[in-house]
Symmetry: C2
Subunit: 282 residues, 2 copies
C-alpha cells in the first residue's frame, strides 16, 4: 500500500483531546475536517481551539455532522471518541467501510489496544494507535502501536507523519495495557500515594523529592541515559552491577496500593492542604 502525502486530516470526536489535535494540525498548516455527535460540537470546538491558540486562523477547519462526509477527502483520521470498547469498535468498522484502504485510521485511545479495533474490518492493516499525552498540541509524546493486523508500513508512515508535525513519537513493539507512559506514571504515582497513605511525608515534600531530585534528571536525559551516565566509564553495566542489589531491595519493598474511596479522600485532602498553603488555584 502506498500511503498518500498527508494534507487533510479528519478529527473524529472533538472533546479536549480532539480539539487539541485539531489545534496542532491547523498550526502546521494542514486542512482539518472535524466531526462529533454532540450537540453544539462545532462551536465548542472552535472556542476550544481559540483558547488553545488565540491567534490561529481557523480557515482550514471545516465541521461536518456526518462521519461519512467528514472523512471524504482525508488521508489520515485521528479518532478521539468515547473510551468504550464496543462503541469504538463500531466506530472503526464504520470508518473502515467509508474510507479507501490507503487512509490511515489512528486511535487516540489510552485504554483500548489496537487489535480490538480491527475486529470486523476489511482493511485492518491501516488501523493503529496514536496515543497522545494530554494536551497533544503542547506535550510532544505520542505512542504509536500497531495491532495484530497492522502493517509495518502503516506504523512507519504514521510515525513519520507525527514527526513532520513536531511530535516525538515512540514505537511500541507490543500491545500492553496502559501503553508505556501511563504505566510508568502509574508506577511512580502508586509509590507516591503509598508514602502519603503511610504518613511518611507530606504531598508537598514528596513533590519536592521529585522536582529537586530525580525529576531534574528525568526531564532531560531520561532514566536509561542516566543509568549510563551514572556508571562513569563503566556505563550502565557498572551502574547496575554496583547498585543492582540496592535497587532490588527497594523494589522488593514496594507495595501495591488500592485506589479505593478512603485513599482518594485522603489524597485529595492532602493535596488540598498543599494547594492552600502554596496559594495555587486550578
Amino acid at each position: 500500500m502506498l500511503y498518500k502525502k498527508i494534507k487533510h486530516i479528519a478529527i473524529v470526536g472533538t472533546g479536549v483531546i480532539g480539539s487539541s489535535w485539531a489545534t496542532l494540525f491547523l498550526e502546521k498548516g494542514l486542512r482539518v475536517t472535524a466531526t462529533d455527535i454532540a450537540a453544539g460540537a462545532e462551536q465548542k470546538l472552535r472556542n476550544q481551539i481559540f483558547q488553545n491558540a488565540p491567534n490561529l486562523s481557523q480557515e482550514l477547519l471545516t465541521f461536518e455532522e456526518s462521519l461519512e462526509e467528514a472523512v471524504k477527502n482525508v488521508q489520515f483520521v485521528q479518532e478521539n471518541g468515547s473510551e468504550q470498547t464496543d462503541l469504538k469498535q463500531e466506530l472503526f468498522r464504520k470508518l473502515d467501510s467509508c474510507t479507501p484502504p490507503d487512509v490511515l485510521l489512528v486511535s487516540s485511545s489510552s485504554g483500548i489496544i489496537p487489535s480490538l479495533l480491527q475486529t470486523g474490518t476489511s482493511y485492518p492493516e491501516r488501523i493503529l494507535l496514536g496515543h497522545p499525552f494530554n494536551p497533544p498540541h503542547l506535550i510532544p509524546l505520542v505512542e504509536v502501536c500497531g495491532g495484530e493486523h497492522t502493517s509495518d508500513e502503516a506504523v512507519e508512515r504514521t510515525i513519520e507523519f507525527y514527526r513532520s508535525v513536531g511530535k516525538k513519537p515512540i514505537r511500541l513493539k507490543k500491545e500492553i495495557k496502559g501503553h508505556v507512559a501511563n504505566r510508568l506514571q502509574a508506577a511512580l504515582r502508586q509509590e507516591a500515594f503509598y508514602l502519603v497513605q503511610q504518613g511518611v511525608a507530606s504531598a508537598e515534600d514528596i513533590d519536592m523529592a521529585i522536582t529537586e531530585g530525580p525529576g531534574l534528571r528525568w526531564a532531560l536525559p531520561g532514566p536509561f541515559v542516566n543509568l549510563h551516565l551514572g556508571g562513569g566509564s563503566g556505563g550502565a553495566r557498572h551502574f547496575l552491577n554496583h547498585l543492582g542489589p540496592a535497587i532490588q531491595s527497594w523494589i522488593k519493598d514496594l507495595v501495591r496500593v488500592t485506589m479505593n474511596k478512603d485513599l482518594i479522600v485522603m489524597l485529595s485532602d492532602e493535596v488540598g492542604k498543599m494547594v492552600q498553603k502554596k496559594n495555587l488555584t486550578a
Copy 2:
C-alpha cells in the same frame, strides 16, 4: 538543647558524596574539617573538590587523620562512611563519645535508618539522617529523618541549616527502607526495566516516553501538584474520582521485576546500543 550557629563542619568519609558535601559547604563560606581512613585521602579530596569547582578556594578546608581531631571544634558532622550497618554503628558511637551533645551528627546513609545509628550512644537525640541525592553540591534534594530517639529540635535545626546553604530539605515523618526519593525512583525504574524486558519498547523510546511526556511535568510542579492542576476547578479530588479506575487498572498490571544477572546484562546491552546510536560517552 540549644544548638549553636553552624560555622564549622566535619566531613567524615571523603568519597564522592563526602567530597561533594565539602564542595558545597566551602562554596557557602563555611569552615570544613575532613577526615577519612583511606591512604592518600586528603589529596584525593582536594583533587575532587577542584574537579567539582575549579575556582573555589580551599583555604577553609583542613584535613585530620584522626576522627577525634576532625570533630573537635565543629557544630555539625556530615557522615559519609561505608554503608555497612555494624561499621556505621561503631562510627556513630565514637562520634557520640568524642563530641559534646550540642553537635549535630548527621548521616548521608541511603540504606540504613537512623534509629540503628543511635544504638549504644549517650546522646541519641542529635543523631539523624541527612540523605543527599548525588551529587549534593548540584542536586538540591536532601532527605531529613530522625530516628526513634532524635529530638524534633535536632531535625528542625538540621532542616534550617540545609536551607541556609541552598539545599531543598524534605522531612520524613517515619523511617522507611530507601527513604522517599530512591523508592520513587525504584518504582519508575522497575516498570522501565520491565518494559524493556518484555520487548515492549526500546530503552531510547522509554526514555522519550518520560522526557517528552510526564517528565516535562514532574520536573516542574511535581506529581501531586499535577493531580491538582489535572482536575480543573475540581482539583485533585475530581481528577482522582474521574481517573482513579484507570490508574487502578494500570497499577494492577504492574509486575515485580527481579534484578538478576540476565536482566542486568539485557539492560546494559540495550543501553549500550542506545549510547552508541546517540554517540554518548560517559
